[in-house]
Subunit: 160 residues, 2 copies
Amino acid sequence: MRIDPDRDIVLDRLLQAPPHLVWRCWTEPGLFCQWYLPRPWFVSEAIMDLRPGGRFFMVAGGPGGERVSNEGSFLEVVPERKLVFTDLFGEDYAPFEAPDSSFGPNFTAVLTFAPDGTGTRHRAVARHRSAGDAAANREMGFEAGWSVTTDQLERLAVTL
Amino acid sequence: MRIDPDRDIVLDRLLQAPPHLVWRCWTEPGLFCQWYLPRPWFVSEAIMDLRPGGRFFMVAGGPGGERVSNEGSFLEVVPERKLVFTDLFGEDYAPFEAPDSSFGPNFTAVLTFAPDGTGTRHRAVARHRSAGDAAANREMGFEAGWSVTTDQLERLAVTL
């Protein structure tokens, strides 16, 4: 995959848990709600229809009682190896007229998981429609937030 | 799949050729160029990287010497059963900042192929971002054009 440094934000990490456990954290709503989003933000509800074109919906809660939802879908699902989701399409590839940007500028996430020793080489690429959208997410602290969130993911995965 | 009558344009046809031949016509560039687009328009070149996230590019020629290209990608590829492509994303799910609408308002096509007797039940759903985009395509003669094009597909498939 060719990375576009202007439009893509890339996180690349070696996690101390094998791919099948990292995969479970990403794809089981009960686990996903325990680690996604940097604390004190959290996910209170997640609906995952884990198939290409399947709905991916979540509700986030914030420290001041904020409640924000995000509607999207999965595009590619390769168990334990690759997961792609977007908030530009709804169920069954129906493109949104007004994509839900409650969480900030829209992006499409391409996640890969590869065995590496007893752990997982995990790469997440957030692909934006424009350099401006990517810059806005960077300014919001996207990279630091995603890194903290991935720490939370790792701490959960190693306990499974 | 839930159809949205305002944003989706649906073609549903029983074709006199089995799914594996209809599939070949859709996915082999040398065959695709023989039937796609309603005559006197034709496809002079097609690049198909037939995988989820793979590039789908074509060049169309018109009766007055027109030359129009279209850049997009495949989203789902289930051999002989389902093919999804879009011009809203480029290779590997990079969303376009300015999707290529040289062919008219953008749409995402969800094609299915099911055995039906000795033939194929073929459904094509063109999903648009808005009712306005779908209406513009209808006014351009999208439905009649797609129907004629599907006749051309059928005539080719039965000879294979």
